[in-house]
């Protein structure tokens, strides 16, 4: 299956700092891991997972072998980066962050959750992942867990649309 993966600016894994073979003219080399369910494996995002893992650089990744689906990610035993999603650049990151912040303000005011206002703007420098979380948390305070997931779904739709993803 195909999925997505965020990496650091230098092409290394966010948590493992593993240096991924990057796509050039074609896909990057295959990377395989030992089949330990909890410990290792290649982590990737389905579309709906993107807001949780928003990072610096985004790639499309092809996964093979055993693929296990979790709540907010999939884990596979083999993967290779197909292409960089160029549309996810600093400008779009900033626009998305702004979108989440505006949603956060809107929901905070609508639901009388003014105390969140002091948190929103100062969070901007920390970027898309944090603002996505803030917006979803405000939604949750206003409308419970369903509202949280609904807000995350809105974020996914926004991203899929702007990034030109399936």
């Amino acid at each position: 299956m195909n999925a997505y993966k965020f990496l650091r600016a230098d092409g290394t894994g966010v948590f493992t700092r593993f240096a991924w073979p990057l796509p050039d003219a074609g896909p990057g080399d295959w990377v395989a891991t030992e089949p330990h369910p909890c410990r290792s494996g290649i982590h990737a995002c389905r579309l709906g997972d993107l807001p949780y893992w928003a990072g610096r650089v985004l790639y499309e990744i092809e996964l093979e072998g055993e693929v296990v689906e979790h709540k907010t990610k999939v884990v596979a035993s083999r993967g290779r980066l197909l292409r960089r999603v160029d549309t996810w650049d600093d400008a779009l990151r900033a626009t998305y962050t702004r979108y989440c912040a505006d949603r956060a303000h809107e929901m905070a005011r609508e639901s009388g959750l003014e105390r969140w206002e002091e948190v929103i703007e100062p969070s901007i420098p920390e970027g898309p992942a944090l603002l996505g979380f803030v917006a979803a948390r405000i939604a949750e305070e206003a409308g419970g867990p369903q509202a949280y997931h609904a807000e995350r779904a809105r974020q996914t739709d926004w991203l899929a649309d702007r990034l030109g993803l399936a």
């Binding site: 966010v14 369910p37 893992w53 920390e126 944090l130 979380f133």
Partner: protein, 82 residues
């Protein structure tokens, strides 16, 4: 719809040691990583803990007292001969 879970920074700092040693259960490790992904403060804390453990690893420990060393060398030479 599944209950939404997340952990706070205060909870993260209690999990850092287990995360470094890879003894967190898979679901908790995911929540941990999700948090680290958006929270600079905890990302820096995790790095601080890694640095701490690495620095501890460089500490030189207490030396063997000379008397002990002598006794043990004597015992070693006897063992060699036997």
């Amino acid at each position: 719809m599944a209950e939404h879970e997340h952990i706070s920074c205060q909870e993260v700092v209690e999990l850092v040691s287990d995360y470094l040693d890879q003894t967190l259960p898979a679901d908790e490790a995911t929540l941990f990583e999700q948090h680290i992904n958006f929270c600079d403060g905890c990302d820096w804390y995790l790095d601080q803990m890694r640095t701490t453990v690495a620095t501890v690893g460089r500490v030189t420990e207490e030396e063997v007292p000379e008397e002990t060393r002598d006794k043990l060398l004597t015992a070693f030479r006897e063992w060699k001969r036997s």
